[in-house]
């Protein structure tokens, strides 16, 4: 319980220091909003095909980037050492950092969704599945961002490292193109991407229609990816956090 309170303190301080700043929130909203609006302007009937994927993409880029930026920034500034000197289990530290990055990602995605609902009338027919997509995606991507951050010293190195992973999965996870249209040899790659299941859950939440897997498989896979990301982050923190 005491460690949980400390994790919450870390999260709250990060929100206060970094995530709560208006420019950061605006930065997270502008790009996906413009992308969806440009699709809407071109063809108002098809924007719902892309909106869940773009919200998932917002989570992917927002969470991995911000989690990595905060940790590499603190490592450079020496303030990360303050956390390592405190009586914190590594899991507490990871939980605290991931929770604040996740809160930022979910807040940005929710604000984007709310904007789309108000401006374009985007429906959310299944809010629990939509919320599950946001929570699982935000948690998983934040943990992956932390794992990348602890491996490197500079922010640009973290971004480069993550781009090897982020851009390829963007094109195989159903963000812009339904999985059914992927060539058969790419489908196994899609199944190995956490983004695939987040996109599916958000689709289910927004439209109520499954594009391929259905809610049970997507939630289970999302949980497994969340767990795997946590294990990876903890293993890398154990090896590299003190370097």
């Amino acid at each position: 319980m005491s460690q949980l309170r400390r994790a919450l303190a870390i999260s709250w301080k990060d929100i206060e220091s970094y995530y709560g700043k208006p420019p950061l929130i605006t930065w997270g909203l502008l790009f996906p909003a413009v992308l969806i609006l440009s699709v809407y302007v071109k063809d108002p009937a098809t924007y719902l095909d892309i909106a869940p994927g773009v919200i998932a993409m917002t989570l992917l880029f927002g969470n991995t980037s911000m989690a990595a930026i905060v940790v590499t920034f603190e490592k450079r500034a020496g303030t990360f050492q303050r956390l390592l000197l405190a009586p914190l289990a590594l899991r507490t530290l990871i939980l605290g950092k991931a929770a604040s990055a996740s809160a930022y990602g979910m807040a940005t995605a929710l604000a984007l969704s709310l904007g789309l609902k108000v401006v374009l009338g985007m429906p959310v027919v299944n809010p629990p599945l939509f919320a599950a997509g946001l929570v699982l995606g935000a948690g998983c991507f934040s943990l992956l961002g932390l794992a990348a951050a602890v491996m490197v010293r500079e922010v640009f190195e973290a971004m480069t490292l993550m781009n090897f992973f982020r851009f390829p999965i963007l094109f195989v996870s159903g963000v812009f193109m339904p999985l059914a249209q992927l060539p058969p040899w790419l489908k196994p790659v899609a199944l190995a991407s956490p983004l695939t299941y987040v996109v599916e859950l958000l689709h289910l939440g927004v439209t109520g229609r499954s594009t391929w897997a259905g809610p049970a498989v997507s939630i289970l896979a999302g949980l497994l990816f969340l767990l795997a990301s946590g294990v990876l982050a903890e293993a890398l923190f154990r090896r590299r956090a003190y370097a």
Binding site: R6, K13, G78, Q81, R82, L85, A86, P87
Partner: protein, 320 residues
């Protein structure tokens, strides 16, 4: 007071690739002691602190803080120590008060305890009027004070201070040294690294000198001086120095090993000051000259340090 030492280290070794940073380091620090850990740049001082603070794994050896092994139970050990690194590790965007409060949260202190402790520390370090100032806007000296305050939020049993007065002006450094004494008087064991040997001598009860990762000497400052001081130095001024011949003086005074005239006085290297004094007084009487001044010079900690540092330095150790 518990009987286990505050810090017990034995056989501590650490390498970075081919560089052996620490070799079989062994020392113990008693509870309530101020212990100075000295050495030139690259001697392994910060590496030792990082290992003791649980920031770096060791290659070999035993390390115990208040009876607990930092590698086996890092969370428990970290709760009992406060570490002040040589560079600041506080958050520039947070105010002084919020920085201390946040550190208190990391140590699991309740809100009421935190509030009281933060107010107490801000007052103790003369920072109460800067409580609402962001840490990043403080001067170097004030930053140093707040960094030390942050290490004390949880009332640690052992405080590690890495170069605490480095870069501070004389009044700030002196005030900080007085605060370190107060922290120690309040019960904390202080483990101090510094390049300022006068500071180490003035503050600490015991000193360890680390050279190239090995313990070169340890003990009280007096014991360290004794280790390198092979003789005492007497400076004797006769009423008529020109009439004294070194050979005659040495013959008459067996306790004097060497006699050198310097700046109107005789610098005498002696084995035993008391016997030498008696012999010199008798010699002066025999020569018909008066003694107008006698001073004894002893090696400083800095002399001892330099002597240990330079090969064969012990031979030329005695200076004021």
């Amino acid at each position: 007071m518990p009987s286990t030492p505050a810090i017990a280290v034995s056989g501590l070794s650490k390498s970075f690739g081919s560089l052996q940073a620490l070799r079989e380091v062994k020392f113990a620090v008693g509870r309530g002691e101020i212990f100075a850990y000295l050495g030139p740049n690259g001697a392994g001082k910060t590496t030792t602190i990082r290992i003791l603070a649980g920031l770096l794994p060791r290659d070999a050896g035993e390390v115990s803080i208040c009876g607990a092994d930092v590698a086996a139970d890092p969370v428990a050990v970290k709760a009992r120590i406060g570490v002040v690194p040589d560079a600041s590790n506080l958050y520039p965007e947070l105010t002084c008060r919020r920085n201390l409060d946040y550190v208190g949260e990391l140590y699991g202190l309740g809100r009421r305890v935190r509030t009281a402790k933060v107010a107490e520390l801000l007052s103790f370090f003369d920072l109460a009027d800067r409580a609402g100032t962001p840490f990043g806007a403080l001067s170097r000296g004030l930053k140093r004070r707040l960094t030390i305050a942050a290490a004390l939020v949880h009332d640690p049993e052992v405080v590690f201070l890495d170069e605490p007065t480095s870069g501070l002006d004389v009044p700030s450094a002196r005030a900080l040294r007085e605060r370190i004494r107060t922290i120690n008087r309040q019960g904390a064991t202080v483990f101090l690294t510094t390049h300022n040997l006068q500071e180490a001598e003035a503050l600490s009860q015991r000193v360890l000198i680390l050279i190239r990762g090995r313990v070169a000497a340890q003990g009280t400052p007096g014991e360290i001086r004794q280790q390198v001081q092979r003789y005492n130095l007497l400076v004797v001024t006769f009423s008529s120095t020109s009439e004294i011949e070194a050979a005659r003086l040495l013959r008459a005074c067996p306790a004097v090993l060497q006699a050198t005239p310097r700046n109107g006085a005789w610098h005498l290297e002696v084995t035993e000051a008391h016997a030498a004094l008696e012999q010199v007084v008798a010699f002066a009487g025999g020569e018909g000259v008066r003694i107008s001044g006698i001073n004894t010079l002893t090696a400083s900690l800095e002399d001892a340090f330099m002597s240990l540092l330079t090969e064969g330095g012990a031979k030329g150790g005695a200076r004021a």
